[in-house]
Symmetry: D2
Subunit: 328 residues, 4 copies
């Protein structure tokens, strides 16, 4: 390892995800292990522009591994999208003697980091923190596993009341562009139908399927709907449509919403965060830059940030088949 890194900064940016605190902790502790100074940046890129820094040592991250959210806070920063903004950020980093930075966030975060590096050559290393699991180059993103469990536990509760009252529920889960949460939480919660952005089921087929299900003796149903489902209707519009076209059902709606972003991370996310933090710091120490840390086949990996932001991870078609079979 080259020994150029004397001080490393870490920030969280974009939508928050469970496990971000665990990832910060890992970056901080890895720095401590290698006797590198570590600096936390508040509110993502905003804090870079405001030089809103805090020195972090092993002790300062005590007790955060199981906390949801990010104690460094997160934000979307318009100023960093301008050359002027990035200039200020660079000056602040230099002034503070920082040699490299770990960026915890999603593709917006990484795009910012790439541009910044291209202009100033400043070493950046990404950690994919987002519940959506929509980043190339890692088996799973940080926070995704926790969000799945939060969604499934909530739907389990909704199922109790759906079943008691013979009702049909449309449950909206997060996922504007990708259906990872919907398909997994849907299968996990035993949903009768799952609507994802990747597949257009067509509303008529949905209604037919619900009718068939009713006839076969099912009295209650859960339909899990990703925010960005292909049918293009909100859960409220779906309810109205079904209300009009399927009289036998008593239809209700539940939008799980932002609770999916919070909560104590699962064991998987805590371990993943710990591994990623180590890899991020060690990669910077090795003189690398512009990579995203991830796991591929459960082994630590580096993916060029350019590739990471290129496309969304595809939905596993096998899961759609499994879902179809499970709801026979």
């Amino acid at each position: 390892m080259i020994d150029k890194m004397k001080k490393i900064a870490v920030l969280t940016s974009g939508g928050d995800a469970p496990g971000m605190n665990a990832a910060i902790r890992s970056v901080v502790r890895t720095c401590a292990y290698y006797k590198i100074d570590c600096v936390g940046v508040y509110r993502g890129y905003d804090g870079l522009l405001d030089a809103d820094f805090v020195a972090l040592d092993a002790r300062s991250v005590r007790g955060v591994i199981n906390k949801g959210g990010t104690f460094l806070k997160s934000a979307r920063c318009k100023r960093f999208m301008t050359p002027e903004g990035r200039k200020i950020a660079y000056d602040n980093l230099t002034k503070a003697g920082i040699d490299g930075i770990v960026l915890i966030g999603g593709d917006g975060t990484f795009t910012g980091g790439l541009v910044f590096n291209s202009e100033y050559g400043f070493p950046v290393m990404g950690i994919p923190g987002t519940i959506d699991n929509d980043i190339n180059g890692t088996d799973r993103t940080l926070g995704y596993d926790t969000a799945l469990n939060t969604a499934v536990e909530a739907i389990d509760k909704i199922r109790d009341t759906a079943h008691s009252h013979d009702r049909l529920f449309f449950v909206e889960v997060m996922g504007r562009d990708v259906g990872h949460i919907a398909i997994n939480a849907g299968i996990g919660a035993g949903a009768e139908e799952i609507l994802v952005p990747e597949e257009d089921m067509g509303i008529d087929r949905l209604v037919e399927s619900l009718e068939r299900s009713k006839k076969s003796g099912k009295t209650s149903s859960i339909v899990v709907v990703a925010e960005g489902d292909k049918i293009g209707k909100s859960v409220f519009e779906l309810k109205d449509y079904v209300d009009e076209n399927l009289e036998e059902y008593d239809v209700r709606v539940s939008v799980l919403g932002h609770m999916q972003r919070g909560g104590s991370p699962t064991c998987y996310d805590r371990v993943l965060a710990s591994r990623m933090g180590v890899k991020a710091v060690e990669s910077l120490m090795e003189g690398k830059s512009n990579y995203m840390v991830g796991t591929i086949h459960d082994k630590m990996s580096l993916t060029p940030l350019e590739e990471a932001i290129k496309g969304k991870t595809k939905l596993n078609k096998e899961l759609i088949r499994v879902s179809d079979i499970m709801t026979t």
Copy 2:
């Protein structure tokens, strides 16, 4: 004890609540203990009219104490509101040799039971099962404690993301006429403001309070809103209003919804259900009718159904004071 009861029926009616299964189990096991036959009625009063009965013994309720919902299902039944409907119900009960019935539900359920008893003298005994805690004559209704914890755990998660992003969240909890859930879950979740049906805070005072809170350095806030809050605006309207009048805040909305009705009951609700089932059956055995079982000062009590349905339990004003002080 008089020994007239040879067969007792039990049903769940109205909105379901966690602990209903535990209460059915208790009725069934108490019957078994006293060697009384027990019959479950499906779908509330609907099942009475359709003679949709099932024999229940100690074994049939194995493993239900920790399940949310009600395996006997619940429904609102219009036919039972007519004299003709109640005639059919009476005939079905008589034909099945049933001597008394335990009604698990809320005030609608009890009102039905009272009318039925007044017409046919059929022994009825109520168990207050509703998450709203709005029934006179019991310290707490069945399901209320569980709903409070479900709400608080969800708001804890929302707080994580609110805090990470310096946001203001309006979180709607159940409670159309009473603010019990809102005030308790609000205090429990450390909400900055709590809007209940019993008090008109006034939207301007709310905005002022949020402004003051912002100035005092608070960067994120949770406002818990009961469905039936006195300001008379939905959480979505509240968001719009604050968006217009409080520019510094990034405002979001979360409607907790039906998940509050489900989930495995807390220890309190399971024990309460067990106690109420015993008391209900033993009261019928003693020749009593038209009472609601409850706990008053944690001792088992009987309240005439007429009183139980008369008014809503009042909000504890002390809690409003506590809430004000906590959010200094």
Copy 3:
């Protein structure tokens, strides 16, 4: 209110309990509300002797309401049991300008406070924080409700495996002198037998009962045992005895242990803590001393510390009956 209180201290002492942090928070915020300075004392009475104080304002208790344990830490302090120790404590309090102190803990904590007050007339106010629910003068102690739910959730999990393997489990829960946790968690978890310190079931009756239960077709059983059960055998000895005397059973043991002391407090405990903190500070402001804050019939109450420490709250005999009936 008299206005003598300018500065109030708060400490946690004895075994920790969920909700202690929420109670500290409430004391701090109530002080802030009344513009009284508030000082936290670390490690119970130990911190009084070491003048290990920290100034606490409304902000310093942000985010602690849902955290288990006590951030002020707790300890048992031998030095405070000596007159010399208490002299030092008094000097430290006086030097720091503290006018009164809130003691969060159990009967040992209160006994210390009483002696201290009798010697120096220093105003003390108690908040009952202990999972055992064994303090006179309050409906429930702080942490008890959470401990019940922790125990029930753990036993639910054990039940899964007991049932899958047709096993008998002895599950030990906390409660050296009182069976409150055992009887409630036992009923809540649907235990077949519950052994408490208050009643001597006799081991032969236990074995008979298990035999009967086996013959009646039950294939798995949970026996919940309080640490201090009257039979006087540990769960391991019980297992050995049953292994020898009941061959048909495959017997296992589980000691829930210290996890019962931790965890995020339930809504009930958070609200109770908030109410108690307000009452404690306001009572000191009114010139009162030597009381324990509590709720009696869900209304705030003050009980002289002398009475609070006198006896244990009695086990509700009704619960033993309910337990017997439930396990028919």
Copy 4:
């Protein structure tokens, strides 16, 4: 697909694991999807010998996906280890017209299936259900993810009280031969030390490390110990040793025990179970036998049962490094 399978049996055997019910459900629903009869066998191989069968259709597995344990029950069966026993099993299967069987369990289960197949050529297909994650040929075994989360949640609670009282806790988790649970739960819970069967830390190094940790200012510590840790001491012996050799610590012990086997499965385990059930039935339909279904790099895979039982999956050494760095 060849169409020889008219009737498929499914059983669960060995130690139970969360997700077994979800796997049974998936087998049943996949059979229903392909119009194959499905038969459940109670109590593992025991039920084969007793012809303890139950017909299962899509409806009979409603509501089991989120239940811990196995409703078909599990057992270890000595009779099946004899040629005579297997003869009876074969006769019973033939008599019932069963064409193939899905075995959900661990290596003992698979060994039995292999021998059975070698003698009678009866088609068998394995699903790895065990919390220990010690089976070759799958990324993870069924139930492992849930057990990790159960352990981490329990240790989080223990941490609360450890930290409040400045204590050292030895927490024993499951894992007689492999340290997968210990290393992951240990990292996830932020343990200071983790003792696994694969590495002999040496008790002196442990004591040294704890001493160093104490000197560096850490006041409380969690040491996670796998049942079969290499030091070869039980948690109770470890406590005694440290009590004697490390006076500054107040040491406690907690054995998590059987609760790790129960509980509602995580989303991951529910989805994994659903996928495995589909693959198992479809593989039997394709005329395959003697394979274990699994996921390799998150793609469905078949591993010959012979290989699956050959060795334990190795501990990921990277995790040991991560653990060392995290506890700097």
